[in-house]
Amino acid sequence: MSLAGYLLRRLVHGAALMLGVALLSFTLMVQFGPDQTFELLGKNPTTEDIETVRENLGYDRPFLMRFGDWLSHTLRGDFGVSAANGEPVGPLLGRAFPITLALVLPGFLIGNVLGLLLGMLAAWHRGGAWDRLVLGGSVAGLSLSFLVIIIVLQLLLCTPYGLNLFPTRGWRVDGLGSYFYYVTVPTLALITVSLGYNTRFYRAVILEELGREHIRTARAFGAGGGELLFTHALRNAAVPVLTRLLYSIPLVLVSGSLLIETYFGIPGVGKIAFDAITSGDQAVLLAIVVLTAALFVAVQLLADAGSRLADPRLGSS
């Protein structure tokens, strides 16, 4: 099957997946999500007030009708308005998304590059001191809570208890200088929390490659360590590396930024998601869930296309 045909088929699967996710998340939120009625009522509400709010929230309408309406609006790009403050969800997320991207991108890139390098170092020295050191560090990193990392970094780098070099919170970026000023500590937190996972994964991938016959052959032909690792092992490990990188993107953008943005007071997607979860803002939550699912589908397509380009043999299987 041609690449285009294959991708088209995956796209259809992806659309079905998104519909399933939409139905499931809508059902969960409507059936089990917090009831917003009483949060939107004043003191001493009357029965009539309660009914009016329920009507405005659409709680009095049949489930399928609500789902159908919501789906048709969503397909037209209208995610509704936030129940909290009446703000349209689309522009709200549109403003927040670039902030989140700018926030997590450095940590994501550096975390993966460092993880890859450390993984290669450990794999090359398998069983040796470097391997044990890197693996020990990784386990220590894995054991640390993200929240603890954030608080400790804030104390060490952002307050008079420590170096007091960076802000504890905020996002007042108006140039490269201020960007580095605000992004450094969140980036360090992201790197710290992801490095252990990344290193262990990349070590396993490279280790597998180093055990293959083509590496033995290259070694027999006198290839040096650098050439073996960067030219032969890394190129052949491109598929799992690329897949991991791409599949991490939705997770990093939403879940990774959730704690970071909440603790650093950054108005990105994670902060909006956190507020929507705690307040039961269904329109915002549904939009985030559906957009995350869409991102997953897009990433899956990209990963498939990338893998086929990196390894043409996949197309013939």
Binding site: E39, G42, T46, N85, G86
Partner: protein, 599 residues
């Protein structure tokens, strides 16, 4: 693609991202604006005056919009002052008609909602419109309860389709600067309600233009104008067109015993606001709020209880550690409200019962639970020992509070409680299952465990004291509004400094879904309430309030109460006296920095 062009593309994308992520434009050159950075432990949901129900929303609304009246900056007990109104209202002899003159020349801020974007003068019909809006079903107001059935013709106006061009007879603009309210019966708290954020004045054009967007836009005539707001902070700037009204500290209630040493003298004779820029950071997480404050990024902090020992040298009197005192002022401010637990009187297992004997046994059971509750421990463990435990439901922050009231109901008396149970035939076998409701949170769980401990000591088998955990506060609200919760623990934040506001929590007509979440419906209490409701503050009314308070105590309708104290810290570089009570936020206009010196 060549590596160089790839790099160029990557840089271009990065630059685009950076510029898109920019939240503010670079500032112009010139003298640095006088800026103050405030922090709050929560974020407002909406800035629409009709929907801003939290202390966070109200604080901002009161700085962006005008209300007819406000509280004097420093006066304690709280005292009213005209704000947008030119003077206090003129009441007719029967107390049913109020005539209010508005200040002339007050203007809304410039906004695209107006023709040519230029703000127009605030007139009496704007006040009429703003109050009527609460009764328009389209608004989804959270403040309508303040005036429901109080103003002549409001309900009929709503039923007739809420036509703003045909206002009800009880709410009229007599001319551009005169407003008249006609009440259905005397309402002594009416002027207090006009200080609330709900009573903020906004132009009809703004609602037509911004609609739902008013949750994040503001078109008011207050001392500040909104520059931006998101989930993490709000930025306000001085409203340069704000009326020039020099401060008189004496008129604002300056008391040297409380206010000296704060640098407030520098604002005497000057017209507020004194800040060019007001930034309000919304920081819900205690650790992050403390870190930001200690690092100097914010200049005000409501100190979390967990930090008390780190900061205080002494709790009574409240005194900061020397290194903290060098940098910060501290104030132990009584919260305008109280926390209490009400028994659901609709539940025959613990509340009212048709059989008089069982009804009496239930009352004895409630009284035993009240006696077994150890308030000092509760205060120590959850409020840092700074709160004030008081008997009944009239808290110390209102003038009707009686400091000499019999403290029996707040005295931990385990033996007395056990004797009461024995006297009325209660034992481990026939005691009912107690269900204590709370929204899911660590603190609420700890409070439940504390209560369970008291009850086990009293004689309840542990399995007969059960938690009813709800996923969110909204779900908890729904449950007790539907009368499903046996023991409801809540806090009440006062809307105005008048004991009527807490006593209405036990008035039969306010039973669920109203604020009387214990559904207390006592004939004698209701009669006294109706009698007192139309009386102006007076010794006669206070006596009625005390009698109502005693009914609640006699019936053991609630485990009450605790008036918490908040520890407020702020930078010594500021001249201010902060306040979170009642409506909060009026003090912002009076904040100034100590430098530069006033010429």
């Amino acid at each position: 693609m060549k590596p160089a062009s790839t790099l160029t593309l990557a840089l271009a994308v990065l630059s685009l991202l950076l510029f898109t992520a920019c939240s503010e434009a670079p500032e112009d050159d010139g003298p640095a604006p006088v800026t103050y950075v405030h922090s709050m432990d929560g974020a407002p949901k909406s800035l629409d005056p009709a929907r801003a129900s939290s202390i966070y929303g109200k604080t901002l609304v009161l700085n962006l919009y005008d209300t007819l009246y406000r509280y004097r900056y420093l006066a304690r007990p709280y005292a009213l002052a005209p704000n947008l109104a030119a003077a206090l209202p003129e009441f007719s002899e029967d107390g049913l008609t109020l005539t209010i003159r508005l200040k002339e020349g007050v203007r809304f801020v410039d906004d695209p909602a107006f023709p040519d974007g230029v703000g127009r003068e605030v007139v009496a019909s704007d006040v009429v419109y703003s109050l009527l809006r609460h009764f328009d079903p389209e608004t989804q107001s959270q403040g309508a309860w303040l005036w429901r059935e109080r103003i002549e013709g409001l309900e009929e106006w709503k039923a007739a389709g809420a036509d703003y061009d045909a206002p009800p007879p009880g709410l009229r603009a007599l001319d551009e600067h005169t407003l008249q309210l006609r009440l259905t019966q005397p309402y002594p708290q009416i002027v207090y309600t006009l200080t609330q954020g709900y009573a903020a004045v906004l132009p009809r054009e703004a609602v037509a233009y911004h609609g739902e967007g008013l949750g994040t836009h503001a078109v008011g005539s207050g001392p500040f104008r909104l520059i931006s707001v998101d989930r993490t902070r709000a930025v306000l700037e001085r409203n340069s067109a704000f009326r020039q009204e020099p401060v008189s500290l004496a008129a604002e209630g300056f008391d040297p015993a409380f206010d000296e040493g704060l640098g407030l003298e520098r604002i005497e004779g000057r017209a507020p606001p004194f800040l060019d820029r007001l930034e309000v950071e919304f920081i819900r997480e205690d650790a992050a709020r403390w870190n930001a404050f200690f690092a100097g990024e914010t200049e005000f902090l409501k100190l979390p209880v967990a930090q008390f020992d780190r900061v205080l040298e002494s709790r009574d009197p409240v005194r900061l550690q020397p290194n903290m005192a060098e940098r910060f002022h501290v104030q132990a401010a009584p919260e305008a409200g109280f926390v209490y637990t009400s028994f659901n009187m609709d539940d025959p297992a613990i509340g009212d019962h048709p059989d008089p004997d069982q009804d009496e046994r239930n009352r004895a059971l409630r009284c035993a639970i009240v006696k077994a509750f150890d308030w000092p421990t509760r205060n120590q463990q959850f409020s840092g020992g700074l709160g004030r435990v008081f008997p009944g439901v009239i808290p110390p922050v209102v003038p009707e509070f009686n400091p000499d009231l019999d403290p029996t109901s707040i005295t931990h008396d385990l033996e007395g409680a056990q004797a009461l149970l024995t006297e009325y035939g209660w034992n481990a076998e026939n005691l009912p299952v107690l269900k204590w409701g709370f929204p899911s949170s660590v603190t609420d769980r700890q409070l439940f465990e504390l209560f369970r401990g008291y009850m086990v000591t009293l004689g309840f088998p542990a399995e007969k004291v059960q938690p009813l955990v709800y996923a969110s506060f909204g779900d908890f609200l729904r449950a007790f509004t539907n009368r499903e919760v046996m023991l409801v623990t809540t806090g009440w934040t006062l809307d105005y400094p008048d004991a009527e506001n807490t006593l209405q929590l036990f008035y039969g007509r306010n039973a669920s879904p109203g604020a009387n979440n214990g559904n207390f419906d006592d004939e004698e209490f209701n009669r006294l309430y109706r009698e007192a409701a139309v009386l102006e503050p007076s010794p006669e009314r206070t006596a009625l309030f005390q009698a109502m308070n005693q009914r609640v105590l006699d019936e053991c309708a609630a485990i009450s109460g605790l008036n918490r104290r908040l520890l407020l810290l702020w930078s010594r570089e500021l001249a201010m006296q902060p306040d979170r009570a009642f409506v909060g936020g009026y003090f912002f206009r009076f904040i100034d920095r100590l430098t530069p010196e006033v010429p």
